[in-house]
């Protein structure tokens, strides 16, 4: 087990004038035994960053240290890390046992020791009956467990997971997610986990690194990221459904949305909203107001801070989502099952002061 340090880590492809930088300097300290989730949309550089830690990609600038040792120039085999790949990368010509034993065999561990370690890992992962099968004879979930077993038997300093659950079906994903948590509690090995799924990120990570276009937008505990997103990107990415982001002008306790051109061509242009704020905005002028759908509460017409015309309702049983237009885009409000909003009617809404998120209109950074 070891701490991992990222210091100004950059990655660029090509050289000279044609150089294309894809990771623009990431700094992060991962404590010994911590479970860190790198989360972001496809192409944000999260997998590249993980592969740089594994030694599969060169580090263009900056330093990565594992257990206090700078590993920039070390081969993957000398870094003492284990990685679980998205497609599991099991050796198809070897049995489950051989797959799990391969890393130990290369490192010259005694055969008896290998056997006990493999048996133990197999028992823990419920793979014991399959030890002599080939990977192709296993189901997706079993293959996934073999990939984890291969990492576990090595007892490395760091586990690296590259979207390990994305090839599983929804039910299995939830189950494996819990197993992963259990395994981490048991081994307490420093883990870095890449995913684009924010549910996985929220449930697995002790801390998240939210990445966007090669930049770490925010590093923090899941609830902290949820409660205080550092930018409009994080606000829109973490939380489901996404936070409503309203562009407009603030003046005292009034916030009037600007009728910006929406990303999608809309049949009816969204009318500007005039929102009555519970407390004045942190400053007057152009701002972005973020309101999570789950923090919008239906109110009586008199107490409403704003309202929007409901275009569509999705009922999920426990509660429903009301979709409407306003403030230059789609608005979503979560309403309890009891009050099903009516389509084409204006839904009056209110919200509490502590649920307002303010972002700079120009750079998207959090203001308050």
């Amino acid at each position: 087990m070891a701490a991992v340090e990222l210091r100004g880590v950059r990655k660029s492809y090509g050289s000279g004038k044609n150089a294309l930088e894809v990771i623009h300097g990431i700094d992060c300290s991962v404590a010994d035994g911590e479970f860190i989730v790198l989360v972001g949309p496809s192409g944000c550089g999260k997998s590249t960053l993980l592969r740089m830690m594994a030694g599969l990609e060169e580090i263009s600038a900056g330093e990565i240290a594992i257990g206090g040792r700078v590993v920039n120039q070390l081969e993957p085999k000398d870094r003492d890390v284990a990685m679980v790949f998205q497609n599991y990368a099991l050796y198809p010509h070897m049995s489950v046992r051989e797959n799990m034993a391969y890393g130990l065999k290369i490192r010259g561990v005694a055969a008896a020791e290998i056997a006990t370690r493999v048996e133990r890992a197999a028992a823990m992962l419920e793979l014991a009956p399959y030890l002599d099968r080939r990977p192709r004879e296993l189901s997706g979930g079993q293959r996934q467990r073999v990939a984890m077993g291969r990492a576990i038997v090595r007892n490395p300093q760091v586990f690296l997971f590259d979207e390990p659950l994305s090839n599983l079906d929804a039910k299995l994903r939830v189950q494996t997610r819990m197993e992963l948590q259990k395994l981490h509690r048991e081994f307490n090995t420093t883990s870095l986990y890449v995913t684009h799924d924010q549910v996985e990120a929220m449930t697995l990570g002790q801390r998240l690194i939210v990445m966007n276009a090669g930049v770490a937008e925010q590093i923090g505990a899941p609830m902290e990221v949820y409660a205080k997103p550092a930018s409009t990107f994080v606000a829109g990415f973490i939380g489901s459904p996404a936070m409503n982001l309203l562009r407009g002008e603030a003046q005292g306790d009034r916030f009037v949305t600007t009728a910006t051109s929406a990303a999608i061509a809309l049949a009816t242009p969204a009318p500007p909203l005039s929102i009555h704020l519970p407390v004045p905005a942190p400053r007057d002028g152009p701002l972005v107001l973020g309101l999570r759908p789950e923090h919008l509460v239906p109110a009586s017409a008199g107490a409403a801070r704003f309202g929007f015309a409901v275009e569509m309702v999705e009922s999920l049983g426990a509660d429903s989502y009301a979709y409407g237009l306003g403030g230059g885009g789609t608005l979503i409000a979560r309403v309890a099952a009891g009050t099903v909003p009516v389509v084409d009617e204006v839904l009056p809404l209110t919200f509490a002061a502590q649920h307002m998120h303010w972002f700079d209109a120009a750079n998207g950074k959090r203001v308050a």
Partner: protein, 293 residues
């Protein structure tokens, strides 16, 4: 599931396979049956009469020291050609697989020799190694090797092996390269993280996963060495010196057309046919057993 078409009438499917059947019948079945038929007869030197002798031609072959010798030569030649051809092409393919810049150009250039006809390839090598005018022969002599494949049987063998393997390298290369490309990069990466160095990764992961390709190529190369190298041998050594490079196909030509022993040559062809059938059956058995991982 495979989609099968059920025809209501019998003549349409027959019509559809007719061209293939015609080609097979005219170019394969008919000559093969002629050879089988011919192998049971002895013709006189003028080709005016033939006499049925049963398996006498075959028995003659088995008692012929030259035939056994030729058989040995062929086995040696085939193993050498297949071994060299596969080894060199695998090495080239592994390197080409790593090349990033200019990979296309490199790969295309490596494929070119396959377009050269065997006889031309043979002539090419013959000129290069000609003891009196060849560039390579001159260079070898400068290095102290007394090169004269016209007199030295071992050198003659080495030369035809090189010439025959050279042509096959590009063919093997394409297949190996395709096979290498088909191996998921993540497997190699997983092995690297597991602690395997480049050589270990190759022998533990890459080579086993290439086995189906390698086996297919082995069969193809052996068949090539057995049957398709007539042009090379004819152009370079004509079976000489002193029958040192007289492989089975060349011996058939020698006995049948130079020696006028039509029946004996036909019997040799039949034996060759049996060998290729056995090889093909072996290949299909194997391929069916381990279709994929």
């Amino acid at each position: 599931m495979e989609k099968r078409v059920i025809f209501k009438n019998w003549w349409l499917p027959l019509l559809l396979v007719a061209p293939q059947l015609a080609v097979t019948l005219v170019f394969f079945v008919w000559p093969a049956s002629q050879a089988l038929y011919g192998s049971l007869f002895v013709e006189d030197a003028f080709g005016t009469s033939s006499e049925f002798v049963g398996v006498q031609n075959f028995l003659g072959l088995f008692n012929d020291g030259y035939y056994a010798h030729s058989f040995g030569i062929t086995v040696l030649f085939s193993v050498a050609v297949a071994g060299l051809g596969l080894g060199v092409s695998l090495l080239l393919a592994v390197f080409a697989d790593r090349v990033i810049r200019g990979a296309r150009l490199y790969q295309t250039l490596l494929i070119w020799p396959y377009a050269v006809a065997p006889a031309i390839a043979g002539v090419l090598w013959m000129f290069m190694f000609d003891p009196s005018v060849g560039v390579a022969a001159w260079a070898l002599k400068r290095m102290g090797v007394n090169w004269n494949h016209l007199l030295n049987g071992h050198q003659a063998m080495a030369l035809v092996v090189f010439a025959a393997a050279w042509k096959q390298v590009s063919y093997n290369f394409i297949f190996f390269l395709a096979g290498l490309t088909a191996i998921p990069k993540s497997l190699i990466e997983a092995a690297a993280i597991d602690g395997a160095g480049p050589a270990r990764r190759f022998f533990d992961i890459v080579f086993p996963l290439l086995t189906p390709t390698t086996f297919f190529l082995l069969v193809v190369n052996i068949i090539y060495a057995f049957f398709d190298t007539f042009g090379v041998i004819d152009a370079v050594t004509q079976g000489g010196p002193a029958k040192a490079t007289e492989v089975l196909v060349f011996k058939i030509f020698q006995d049948g057309f130079k020696g006028q022993d039509y029946g004996g040559a036909a019997a040799q062809s039949v034996i060759l046919m049996l060998i290729v059938v056995a090889l093909t059956v072996a290949q299909f058995r194997y391929v069916e057993k381990k279709v994929n991982y």
